[in-house]
Symmetry: C2
């Protein structure tokens, strides 16, 4: 038999029953449509626990408009959790509402008072055990006596149940009538960095190998980054190696693309000797850890023609009728230096061996301290492979995370997140206009996939020098960085960004000129005038403000100026609010009058409040919802205001 | 392991796995998100059959934008059906696309041609059995030979597979690589009247009982109605009987409300003696059948204090501490003439007996020829009860239908439809403005619940003399009728509508003055100037035009005039299109220039076309998408145009 109380559209969830996602300590909003036949009042709650383990915790749900109910759960530990939404008919509250209405209408409620006394007495009869229960039992008995006491005025008898805690007890006693439960809903809880992280990507070979990179970590830490992502560190193939600027005729000293993985010196478990030794790598990982950072490696499942697998396991590749192995193609384009892996060999034991070997690679680097993998092009490998390998790895190592580099169509991006990826690259890279930026920020925060897909906003990557950055000046670089860092709890940049590297290879794609993918690129990070201080300040603001560390609470504040966008974010508990007001015009001053949603800002609309620009330290006292703002791109791309309740210096 | 090809968001479906709905012969659009990793081409199809029985039928899906695919299935028989969406990688089409691209780019495709020949040969090897398969096998062998024939030009070798039917064969041969299937999706198929029906509600006691009602049927049939719905026909209680206009002090000759069911003369299986005998009832049902109509009874699960169940089964009611049975209340309102049933007695055997007795009532009237029940206030009875009883009844009698009179919140309405109701009363009754009417028509046709909730539009009911009809003139009555009859495949009116009955009881609710619910109301249906001819014409148009008999294909055509709305509907096969252009201003002439979506009308935008007003017979030749229209409310509330391809009298 179906539930007497309908409990439908329970969130958070994924479309096909994979776990929704949260991080430890995050306030997870649980909501559902809850309703029953007739007019009786309902009580609803959510219960949750680590899957299959221990006591259930419980939290009440509150009614929103249109039969939606909402509450909050928090996962304390990493790993699988389960939650259930429950509802039952609140018999006592229904009795109370109806009796009060009848009494207010002048109707005799003598029988109703006796009915109430019976309810409360039955509750008392069921309360046994603990001292607290016995105390409640006594309260119930007193209330029942008062309800029955005809010497008292009706108002007094009715008020007898308004004792502290008694109405709460009576929600569940004497019985949970019509008790109804949702399906068991799975929730995977990650460590906090799955949600809040600041990424920096660098090529170690451009930074003096592992040793030089280790030395750079302190500067990256000072800038406020906490994940340093390295493109593949494995030996690079010689056969069909690409030359500078992706040419097919390399010079003898050309270093090749790190994504052409594998040579006679080894494959995915080896280190390119030019970068250093395993000891050097261990030192890098250790230094990162001591700075509160971590190293992320690239998990790029493809091989150069020289990868040991090509000879050891030809059955793991695609073959052509002439006996050759297929290189990567997107006809008519050919990528001769890359052999794609055939994830579905004809024999299932070959498939099992291949998938197991892929898993071994992860275990190998996990054993060497890696806990965050950036996965190259996951949308060109099978979905069942990802569903399997991420589950296997996280079962053994629940703290391991995966970032999906899937610049593909939205349904595939969501599906990869659903089957297990912890974070996802996004379309932020190409969102430039006011409307599309705001819509996208709201979509990633609150759209249907927000229950399980966490965004990671990148203004640039080694593959993408996107629109506004191409030949763009420092103001553009400041703006794009600020938008990424304030709109999304996770964001990242690829090194060179802080030096305003802006030269495109050509007009027909988004490659950098002299791309670091094909050559070593040395940089002077200590040059004057870089973006470093600005980045450091932004990352400090992100660390100081929980509002910028969460994903879901975002509110857009409209204004008439098409060059100015304003949005606020609030911490889970609502005590920290950050209002970002950005000027998209990097060439000229813009001004506007904002239309603020004061409720979203957590301020009392009848009083003034103070905002402090966290970039400059300037404070402004605002009265009302329509403050004037002016932004000069030469000074700063945006105000990043923290909101302070009450005007400073004005007594409450 | 999950599907290698993602098949998600399959429609039609309900939120919680109950069957979606269709009627026999209806074209059911099946759609899904279908995609896989990489760039290989896919083939997708839907297979379906009566549940668990017989061979699967199969129909290909076609790609729409954004990885959505769509196809059509048709249920031939009443009852449970199941369908599955399947997809696999189209290896041969992928090979062909890639090889053509490479050849076009001037690349050598020698190895690719051999690859293609191998594919086609493998397909040949698997084709066995029927003469047709052997013929395909021969075609494959010829194609493989040509692909391998180096004496031929490459173009000729590539063209060798372009043989009639061969590409189709090669979609599934030699293997269905990555074969993926959706869950088994349930679909319930009803008889056609579940979708397309024209209802007329009358109180038999105002029409001379069953005998008089039987005589009226011919007139109702002439008007084009096919379902005649009778409020409860059972004995009416005496205790606390309501007087005229719902007063609590009835005269001795007051007839009471038919919804106060049950007296010493019997309950839900008895007939009020004043209406006639079971023989008279049988004659009524038979006459309706012979006119191609059917009688619908009210299934109102509540009792008057005099219902036999009250004494025979006091455990089926709610009790108060003073021993009395609870009458219906919505505090502070009291309905002393009605005892609500307690669907959850304390003992489960009592519940089982009660539910079984409720089922018996349906079986009793089904045995007497009733196949369509109008269910009174289903939203005040438990959802599990409806899920159970509708399934039980339809398992035994798959042609029995249920109309939910649930004027309640949208989520409950959808849930009742989900658990089994065949049709639902709607909010049309209160939708008056242009925007809200159009939005509602699109919502019921294409919203999330349209897969399983079928609307039935009623301008009035005995409970609801709604806004525009209150003191409204004939033009309003024409307009509301026309909107109901053209926007929804099912609609109905309560008798008196054709006589423009428009007097409200008061300003504070929607009751009729001298409501027929509490008294006999005799009418002169033969008076001059009634709405009868207009109703007859509208129902005739509905019967002549399959476009008006289906639910889902509706398109809104914009125009600047806030008083004129235009929408078109198309038959499943697209050959019949009806464009309705209505004037919501019942007091004055309105004119506009339409902005027609010519594709939706099925006309060639480069040529003219003819529309015929089915209400007047007038035809208009239109060139282009922006015809001028003018409507005079004194003449007609709307044009109901059938669309004819090509201007009449102009040769192709």
């Amino acid at each position: 038999m179906i539930n007497p109380i309908a409990i439908q559209d329970v969130r958070p969830r994924t479309p096909e029953g994979f776990p929704a996602k949260a991080v430890t300590g995050e306030w997870v909003r649980v909501s559902a449509d809850i309703f029953r036949d007739g007019h009786d009042l309902l009580f609803a709650r959510v219960i949750w626990r680590p899957t299959g383990a221990g006591d259930w915790r419980s939290s009440p749900l509150s009614p929103l408009p249109n039969h939606r109910w909402e509450g909050t759960i928090v996962g304390e530990d990493i790993g699988h959790h389960e939650y259930v939404v429950q509802a039952w008919t609140d018999t006592f509250a229904t009795w109370r509402r109806d009796t009060l209405v009848k009494h207010a209408a002048g109707q005799d409620v003598g029988v109703e008072l006796e009915e109430g006394a019976l309810l409360v007495s039955s509750a008392a009869a069921k309360l046994e055990g603990s001292a607290a229960a016995k105390q409640k039992k006594a309260l119930c008995r007193e209330a029942a006596d008062s309800l029955r006491n005809k010497d008292l005025p009706v108002e007094t008898r009715l008020a007898a149940v308004e004792v502290d805690g008694l109405l709460e007890v009576l929600k569940a006693y004497p019985v949970r009538r019509d008790l109804s439960s949702s399906a068991m809903m799975p929730l995977w809880v990650d460590r906090p960095r799955a949600l809040f992280s600041s990424w920096y990507e660098l090529f170690p070979r451009s930074n003096g190998g592992f040793e030089g990179t280790t030395k750079r970590l302190a500067a990256l830490s000072d800038m406020g980054f906490d994940v340093v992502y390295l493109p593949p560190i494995h030996p690079i193939g010689i056969t069909d190696r690409k030359g500078k600027n992706n040419t097919t005729s390399p010079d003898a000293d050309d270093v090749g693309s790190p994504w052409a993985i594998g040579s006679k010196e080894g494959g995915h478990k080896a280190i390119d000797p030019s970068l250093g030794t395993f000891e050097d790598f261990a030192a890098l990982v250790e230094e990162a850890g001591s700075l509160g950072m971590e190293i992320s490696l690239d998990y790029a499942l493809q091989c150069s023609p020289d990868h040991p697998w090509v000879t050891e396991h030809p059955e793991w590749f695609h073959h052509r009728p002439d006996g050759t192995i297929k290189f990567a193609e997107n006809p008519p384009k050919k990528y001769q230096d890359i052999y794609p892996i055939n994830f579905w060999p004809a024999k299932d034991e070959d498939r099992a061996a291949l998938w197991s070997a892929c898993w071994d690679i992860l275990e190998f680097w996990i054993a060497r301290g890696i806990r965050f993998f950036r996965v190259d092009n996951p949308h060109t490998k099978p979905l069942p492979f990802w569903a399997w390998i991420i589950r296997e790895v996280q079962t053994k190592h629940p703290d391991v995370l995966f970032l999906a580099e899937a610049f593909t169509h939205p349904k595939m991006m969501a599906r990869l997140a659903e089957v297990g990826f912890s974070q996802s690259y996004t379309y932020f890279t190409w969102r430039v206009g006011k409307q599309e930026l705001l819509e996208y920020a709201v979509e990633v925060a609150q759209g249907p996939a927000a229950d399980y897909m966490r965004p990671n906003f990148w203004p640039n990557t080694p593959d993408i020098l996107s629109g506004p950055l191409r030949n763009g000046g420092p103001a553009v670089f400041r703006l794009r960085l600020l938008l990424a860092a304030t709109m999304s709890p996770s964001y990242g940049i690829y090194s060179g960004y802080e030096l305003y590297e802006n030269q495109p290879a050509r007009d027909t794609d988004e490659e950098y000129l002299n791309s670091e993918k094909y050559e070593v690129r040395e940089r002077d990070y200590d040059a004057p005038g870089t973006l470093v201080p600005f980045i450091a300040r932004l990352n400090a603001i992100r660390r100081e403000h929980p509002a910028l560390q969460q994903l879901h609470n975002i509110v857009v504040h409209p204004n008439w100026n098409p060059n100015i966008l304003a949005f606020s974010k609030a911490s889970d508990d609502g005590t920290d609010v950050v209002l970002t007001v950005a000027n998209l015009d990097t060439a000229g001053r813009q001004e506007t009058t904002l239309n603020l949603d004061l409720t979203a800002l957590g301020v009392d609309s009848s009083r003034g409040f103070t905002v402090r620009d966290e970039l400059t330290g300037a404070t402004y006292d605002w009265w009302g919802a329509s403050p004037y703002v002016r932004l000069e791109p030469a000074d700063q791309p945006a105000h990043v205001f923290s909101v302070i309740q009450g005007v400073q210096g004005v007594a409450d």
